[in-house]
């Protein structure tokens, strides 16, 4: 009998395993399939975007156009102005879509909002970015590409009715895939997804989808563009004994990145002030200024790949290189912060090439002979890593762009040191700091979900006030009832708080109770406003070692927020996120 039961059990287990395996297999096949589709879609989107930019660049490039129509090049310098007018028009027509710009919007969508990116938003950014970059703005295609790829990932997930957890996975995969396609660099695309979108979360389940989609997108890119290299790199020599110069260049890259960020920050502050006053869009006068600069220095026009190739081909003198470097930095920062659509990867490559090349030339004045081409490539990695906080992506991207193993060691040094220089000074990456400005702190290992919860939403009206002049023994009777008291002056203006914790010591001696009034032992706690975040309230409670905080409006207390309510809200949000991630809504 036992033997029969054993055999039956064996068959039951085998059948169960078979179905379980089949279910897993179905899951895996679907994941691979959808990743391939999303990769291909992101690749096609990126190629469409690339084609549109290239078409505009060739057709209306000031230097190209004047050759055919015999129009002086300075007339055609008006192209960036036309571009600016179109961008302003698009932004004013679709303000909602326009506000969700750049890589940080993809990060937010993936890590915080967990909601699909609408297809219209994706298409808007495709058009607006193509206009920006096609009319000569000195920005790069990667920010928009990530937005387009992530948007396609999100949209296709919604077509398949996938749950939020899977939608997030494929948004990341789409963003990385588009980067792979646009730079023809699949490994860099994968690491872009990890370093930028996932903020270095290597345990994230999006990884396999990201790899598959990147490969798929790169195949589309290679089929469309062929194996044409983005950069034409002449022969160069890397001498490993020049390690000290590599390190020095890395530090220079870090400092230049910091200066750029500082300039960018100043421009952003000014732009916000101007925008508040609702004056004419700053992009228009900026484009006029840019047009004037383009008349004298045509090479600052556009994304910068042509400039990179010209620098590497040794077409410029030191003086011209210095002027181009200054102009590039200023106009990139201006365009980036004043409403144009574009990213900082390609501009970083361009600035890096100029920094590295100038570094080698400058040192030659002191009798040090270095190969400027090699140092330009090292500078490219250093600047890409420093400015975008992506050391691994930078190493891989330079390797994939140069296809030369010799640059790996110096680029590794330059990328890591430049990145460390920037993060040491800034205490965070450029994306983390941008999100922090919006009140989202992602620098800790987990997202501080409480940053997006206002105290108003969890405040309680269950509090009692007491006059600061009231005897403590009177307050003690009230405290036994309510545990917490708000102390106010004769005009009802908030003074501080009293809780059982504060008076516990006074209870040790009844004579002390007789001696004191509330004012003597009030805790002058900095209250919070209704719009403050729960995270901020929690920080203040920790600072004072208390378990509640008054909420004030015009110096009058309107409510209190309790420590236990914040923790309860935190747990609730975490459960909601878990439910969204692991709920069986779709596949």
């Amino acid at each position: 009998m036992d033997t029969i039961l054993h055999i039956l059990q064996h068959y039951y287990d085998s059948i169960k395993n078979f179905f379980t395996t089949r279910y897993d297999l179905k899951e895996y096949i679907l994941q691979i399939g959808i990743s391939l589709i999303i990769g291909a879609a992101a690749g096609l989107g990126a190629m469409g975007f690339h084609t549109l930019i290239e078409w505009m660049r060739i057709v209306i490039n000031p230097s190209h156009f004047s050759r055919y129509l015999e129009i002086p090049s300075f007339v055609m310098a008006i192209v960036p102005v036309i571009g600016a007018l179109m961008i302003i028009g698009l932004t004013r027509l679709f303000p909602k879509q326009a506000s969700e710009r750049g890589v940080t919007s993809v990060i937010k969508s993936v890590l915080l909002q967990k909601i699909p990116i609408p297809l219209f938003t994706t298409l808007f950014h495709l058009i607006a970015s193509a206009v920006t970059l096609g009319t000569g703005a000195p920005l790069g295609p990667e920010g928009p590409s990530a937005k387009i790829g992530g948007g396609f990932g999100s949209y296709i997930s919604s077509l398949f009715r996938l749950n939020i957890r899977k939608m997030t996975t494929y948004t990341v995969a789409g963003a990385g895939a588009a980067i792979s396609a646009i730079f023809n660099a699949p490994i860099a695309g994968v690491f872009f997804g990890i370093e930028v979108i996932l903020l270095n979360d290597l345990k994230n389940e999006s990884l396999s989808a990201l790899v598959i989609a990147s490969v798929s997108a790169d195949m589309v890119s290679k089929a469309y563009l062929g194996n044409v290299a983005l950069l034409q790199i002449p022969k160069f020599q890397v001498n490993t004994h020049e390690v000290l110069y590599f390190i020095l260049l890395a530090i220079v890259c870090g400092i230049v990145a910091l200066l750029f960020m500082e300039l960018s920050h100043i421009i952003k502050k000014i732009y916000r002030k101007i925008r508040k006053q609702d004056t004419i869009a700053i992009l228009l006068p900026l484009s006029l200024l840019f047009a004037v600069a383009v008349i004298f220095y045509t090479d600052i026009y556009g994304i910068g790949y042509e400039l990179i190739n010209k620098v590497l081909a040794k077409e410029f003198s030191v003086n011209i290189l210095l002027i181009l470097f200054v102009l590039k930095i200023i106009f990139i920062a201006l365009y980036f912060q004043t409403g144009a659509y574009g990213g900082l990867f390609a501009p970083s490559l361009c600035i890096g090439i100029l920094v590295g090349y100038l570094f080698a030339l400058m040192l030659s004045f002191f009798g040090v002979t270095l190969d400027p081409v090699a140092y330009a490539l090292i500078g490219m990695g250093g600047m890409l890593a420093g400015l975008n906080s992506i050391p691994i992506t930078a190493i891989l991207m330079v390797f994939e762009l140069t296809n030369d193993y010799r640059v790996i060691l110096p680029v590794m040094l330059a990328s890591v040191i430049s990145h460390l220089t920037v993060t040491y000074y800034n205490k965070g990456t450029i994306y983390e700091l941008e999100l922090l400005e919006e009140g989202i702190d992602v620098r800790k290992s987990r997202i501080n979900v409480l940053e997006s919860v206002t105290v108003q939403s969890i405040a309680s009206n269950n509090f009692q006030i007491i006059n600061a002049k009231a005897p403590l023994k009177f307050a003690m009777d009230k405290l036994i009832e309510v545990e917490r008291l708000i102390v106010v002056d004769d005009n009802g203006v908030y003074t501080g708080i009293l809780s059982l914790n504060e008076v516990r010591q006074a209870l040790l001696s009844s004579d002390v109770v007789e001696l004191l009034i509330c004012q003597d032992i009030v805790l002058h706690v900095n209250p919070c406003n209704e719009s403050d975040s729960a995270a901020e309230a929690l920080r203040r409670m920790d600072e004072y070692g208390i378990d509640f905080l008054p909420v004030v409006k015009e110096n009058k207390v309107t409510a209190i927020v309790l420590y236990r309510d914040i923790i309860s809200m935190y747990n609730k949000i975490i459960v909601q996120i878990e439910e969204k991630q692991y709920g069986h809504l779709g596949l």
């Binding site: 010591q505 004579d511 003597d520």
Partner: protein, 150 residues
């Protein structure tokens, strides 16, 4: 809580001449002038007076404990004032005050402040100690009394 002697000094003990409670507070608070206890004596005196106006710190038995927590107080301390003739402090028992214990604490020294006040009150509750302090001839005598007080 450490010994009371850690919070006072012979320099902080004064035989008071003033008969008015506000003048007595000013006279006694002046002992902190030029010390590391308080950097703004004027603000400290004002805080003590304002507090006194709200409710008397004359708790009876010939004792008053004026006190204030202030940003400019850097070190928690107390001063002792002896008035042989007595000061009208509007005490709760209506008797003149012979022993003024003035307590200074920093804005955030909440717990230490309450502990010190409790300790002072528990020592002054003892009739013998209280009378010995009022009868003391010098600052050193008062320090000695506090040293032996438990």
């Amino acid at each position: 809580m450490s010994s009371l002697l850690e919070f006072t000094d012979t320099k902080f003990i004064k035989f008071l001449k003033s008969k008015n409670k506000y003048k007595a507070i000013e006279e006694l608070a002046d002992v902190f002038k030029g010390t590391d206890v308080c950097s703004d004596i004027k603000a400290f005196i004002n805080a003590l007076k304002e507090r006194e106006e709200i409710m008397t710190t004359g708790i009876g038995f010939g004792i008053a404990v004026p006190h204030a927590k202030l940003e400019s107080v850097h070190k928690i301390a107390f001063a002792i004032g002896i008035s042989k003739k007595g000061i009208d402090f509007n005490s709760i028992d209506g008797n003149p005050v012979h022993l003024v214990v003035l307590v200074a604490a920093g804005e955030r020294q909440h717990k230490e402040y309450l502990k010190l006040l409790s300790k002072i009150m528990s020592v002054l509750k003892n009739d013998t100690i209280r009378n010995e302090m009022i009868q003391a001839k010098s600052s050193k005598d008062i320090i000695e009394i506090l040293r032996t007080a438990k």
